[in-house]
Symmetry: D2
Subunit: 377 residues, 4 copies
Amino acid sequence: MVGGGRGALIGAVHRIAAVMDGHAELVAGAFSSDAVRSKLSGADLLLDHARVYGSYREMAQAEAAMPKDRRLDFVVIVTPNHQHFEPASLFLKAGFNVVCDKPVTFDMAQARKLRTLVRRSGKVFVLTHNYTGNAMVKQARELVQDGTVGTVRKIVVEYPQGWLADAVERTGQKQASWRTDPKRCGAAGCMGDLGTHADNLARYITGLETEELCADLTTFVKGRRLDDDGNVLVRYKGGAKGVLHASQICVGDENNLNIRVYGTKASLEWHQEHPNELAVKFVDKPRQIWRRGNSYVGDEAKRFTRIPFGHPEAYLEAFGNIYREAFRAIAAEVEGRPIPKKLDFPTIDDGVKGMAFIDAVVRSSRLGARWVRPEAP
Amino acid sequence: MVGGGRGALIGAVHRIAAVMDGHAELVAGAFSSDAVRSKLSGADLLLDHARVYGSYREMAQAEAAMPKDRRLDFVVIVTPNHQHFEPASLFLKAGFNVVCDKPVTFDMAQARKLRTLVRRSGKVFVLTHNYTGNAMVKQARELVQDGTVGTVRKIVVEYPQGWLADAVERTGQKQASWRTDPKRCGAAGCMGDLGTHADNLARYITGLETEELCADLTTFVKGRRLDDDGNVLVRYKGGAKGVLHASQICVGDENNLNIRVYGTKASLEWHQEHPNELAVKFVDKPRQIWRRGNSYVGDEAKRFTRIPFGHPEAYLEAFGNIYREAFRAIAAEVEGRPIPKKLDFPTIDDGVKGMAFIDAVVRSSRLGARWVRPEAP
Amino acid sequence: MVGGGRGALIGAVHRIAAVMDGHAELVAGAFSSDAVRSKLSGADLLLDHARVYGSYREMAQAEAAMPKDRRLDFVVIVTPNHQHFEPASLFLKAGFNVVCDKPVTFDMAQARKLRTLVRRSGKVFVLTHNYTGNAMVKQARELVQDGTVGTVRKIVVEYPQGWLADAVERTGQKQASWRTDPKRCGAAGCMGDLGTHADNLARYITGLETEELCADLTTFVKGRRLDDDGNVLVRYKGGAKGVLHASQICVGDENNLNIRVYGTKASLEWHQEHPNELAVKFVDKPRQIWRRGNSYVGDEAKRFTRIPFGHPEAYLEAFGNIYREAFRAIAAEVEGRPIPKKLDFPTIDDGVKGMAFIDAVVRSSRLGARWVRPEAP
Amino acid sequence: MVGGGRGALIGAVHRIAAVMDGHAELVAGAFSSDAVRSKLSGADLLLDHARVYGSYREMAQAEAAMPKDRRLDFVVIVTPNHQHFEPASLFLKAGFNVVCDKPVTFDMAQARKLRTLVRRSGKVFVLTHNYTGNAMVKQARELVQDGTVGTVRKIVVEYPQGWLADAVERTGQKQASWRTDPKRCGAAGCMGDLGTHADNLARYITGLETEELCADLTTFVKGRRLDDDGNVLVRYKGGAKGVLHASQICVGDENNLNIRVYGTKASLEWHQEHPNELAVKFVDKPRQIWRRGNSYVGDEAKRFTRIPFGHPEAYLEAFGNIYREAFRAIAAEVEGRPIPKKLDFPTIDDGVKGMAFIDAVVRSSRLGARWVRPEAP
């Protein structure tokens, strides 16, 4: 693991998600850019002292030098955005599979370079757009793909949070600090952190790509240097329309990612905070509530389920599902088998599209919220 | 009553709403532009045959000629949009108070003319933006006005319906027919029918006026001549941002008007389909659910309540609240008393703003969804 | 109307419910046992002074003496329980149809006597178990009757309220005062007021009759003389089991009547506070939410609907549905036509069953919560 | 681990819950009473072949013989109920800490014997009443303990499931098979599996003990030999009343454990299927929704939280919380430190109380649903 030391948030999430099914074990890490802090964090995690490194460079070198049966099978990168590209490149080049938090890089150029590297390396690269790991999100996708929904006409995807409604970053809170800092976070704040999830979720479920978009980004908190709110109109290729909004200043909203997909035959509604349910609405028959774990759900929704219906799975299990699927690929790579063709986890391509989304909303907004086309990935 | 005969929808709603508190009685009507149909509708309603008129012109003349103690106190206009202006003008001129369905007229020019007429007439003019009659909407407004919410930063207001997802108008369904006909409905379809309610609700609760907006309207159903879907970005005067979307093609959504108001201190959330509850969200204390009829609600929410908490009031009662308040003004006018200053019902000014909203979203959309300013009302 | 004067609660509800569809008009009343108060209440309601009576005896006599085309078509009795039997008997004998609030009488003996009177009179007698007026309750009944639910195995019906959690009756509150007074309310408090609704609702939906029950009633508030809480185990004829509980001390619960019916094939769930929805649950297919006003609901649920789906109807409309159906019978009786056979409103027989329920739960509880059989009605 | 091999359900849950925080590792097991099956299951789990045993007896012996730094720190028993007592006794005697699924033993006599053994052994014994691991259940308990709720008057606790509505056990389904078999499950079916959870949850939150109860158990599915439904009236020591019902035949209900606690000052409501929220209701102020992970929750609710608000934790995390707390005790025991005094996990005492509950409901029901007192634990 690179990053995720004391005071970090998402590192702990990755650690639980990666190990919960007993398919992986944390064995090494460079948990902080501060070597002492890294060592302390490694000790917290009961790791072998020798494999807690002072920097990711040191780690890549040392691990690559180990005999194959002892060294890392994959590395997980959970640093702030500006520190994704370098360690990812380094580990790929050193022959390791990589799992990386989103957004994939600091900017579009890095994303494209990384894509080239991934392709050349032949290694597995996994981007943790974790919400697509939810079983009922997979069910939603299946209901689009199998024609139940008909032609998609409209998508409403929302991601309001409220934790940055005040200038929390000035209190020294670590998460708030880097997420509002253009040097570490990139060109977008809220839109990079939350908007990309919303964009990715819509694409994952519907398969639609954005033709053009019009984004009105705002920084509500005085002194903040990145957007903390954004409202976006979307025109999808093929004629569907969309509304995407995300925010960090929606007081009292916690992690309220939700999506509605309206088709010619049926509509879907899913809420991240109640992830075990998927509402399916029709014109002329009762609304349906599909619930995880039942006999009637599709094969993919079944495949990503651990426990019976009514025993709710939630955020960590969905995150774990990304890992579970990634391990199918990583295990193959490590064992020298061909990597399975049909895999269901976000890849470098999703990463590039995410960067194109960030680039487009920022461009649009700077033009005063004019319509722009995302760059071809 | 003008309009609202056999096959009509909103006429019956007005009749229930107007009489439910025992403050009014239906005594006369021109229920259809077809005289025979009007007579038949009047008979259905057990009205005195003599006061069921073949046309609203006839009605205005005959009623104006009656002795003051027998003639109408007010007239209710529930015809399609293109037939609001004429009867409203006629009855105002003939000395009657007028209650009119929304949107107030066919276009902006008519709305302004009507406003002049209303002002000159000294009569009461009531526009039935019925959703503002809900007790918990009034509570929401109070929580903005008393500072609980702080400064409003963001408004998300939605009004998805699904009943026009198919070309219902071609089946001869009366409601669908005129609501999709530019000659009877006006420049906008969905945005006139639903968007104006959403716009009005946001303004009612927050007091904010639109500075500029960017609207992407769509006609999804082939052959339809008016928009059946619209997504709007809003910039309010003073800096708040908004998202407003409405639709008639959201399969399975019924009458899903809802609003979220995000302030610096608290946020509000209200759903028309569950109107007795108002969610109030904070950063640092538990989410609150305010429920109609309780001791803790404000004076206005109390004033517009008939029955105890837990005994839900709903659409018709909210509609009746508009009438109830209107009757305070109408009774004063009829009795020659000064009309109370502080009244809480939508007026011709709301009507003009609604037409400015329609005009602006249509203009914006025709420009390819550019930012435009609503005309000064 | 008998009762329902100033300070009363349910009188106003009846007045709205009875007139909302334009089928009835309030013309006369004895609104209070205090003649002055009755007159004042009549004036509040803008009634003809001559038809506001000082007592129901006076009213029955005077109205019976009127010519048939001017006198009352029916009388509504909304007095406390101990004053149901006398006025009901009097008006029936005087030749009037009667609508009466529940529970039907003070005790079982009175209920049986009244039943004899009703049968002899040939008049229409309506008991306002208003919750069965809800469209989706009718839908629930239909889903039992048409076999969708299969054989009913278990019923859970609850009616918790919280308004009497403190000794409100000692503050002089009129509602609390008579409802906790054994001389005016009868043998049961909470169980008479709320338990009978729950019992009636279960019977209405499932058609099942109680074989025996075991009731544990409690008076939680010190000094109160009637039960303010009760928990009941039920064994229905034919083998189904039930849990029925009701309370007036469930702090923060408002009017939380709800029912679940579990069958061999499907289960139903309905909540009075969100009355437009009915959940239908299956073993092997998605949960369904049936919503009032849709094309797919049954004929009876359609018949008792005024406005389109998504425009919620609620307590008053359900109450009005009882009246609406009653008027079919009353109109026939008044016009000398045969009374329709298939009518859907609660009758004196429901009233007698309600009194048998009250009698049984009180008997059971006094025996220390032993199993008892309700008396044959 | 003892039990939990191929085809088992709860074993996998324990494995995830125990390891998710990185505090434990699965190293050995006797996964089935069939030695071959045990070996195969161990291989599935990538265990060292040498530590996958053919029986728990073999396992206890072999592990006890290992050097202290290599042998097990604790054993987890996840066999059917009739096979709890023997392995638990054996491992305790062999010097191991024990985690055991509920109900603790086959019958009351075994439970008492096991309690004696636990006390004598000085080892840690943990009973996985997992629902008490939920952060918001802990919050509920705190709101009772800190006086917010006032004196508890009424408890309604429900646990309806529907998966045994048909005779699933005859299809060879392993879970259904042993859970409906009196020789493996014990004296109660539904009441042992679900009722004990409900009883435990009520006691955990309120601290109240049952004075007496009256239970009506039913076997709805023909040929089944244990209860699949039960309705219980409860009288708690000190005067509170309760309703407890559980079922396996409630078609379409999944794992619908929920509880309402009504106090003199406030009421609580918690639903297992939406575990991150706790409703708190008052007489005279808005209903509150407390949500896991917020600054305003109590210390205990904070202590058992992994990820931020809005990122839902659910069943597995709650289960993991039992383990997390157990590990505080187990680590101390293993390291020879004094076991912390204030621990929050279910113990052998809870187990004995659970068996007393089972014994009482079965006795009561056999008497025709008479009131009985649970045996003193």
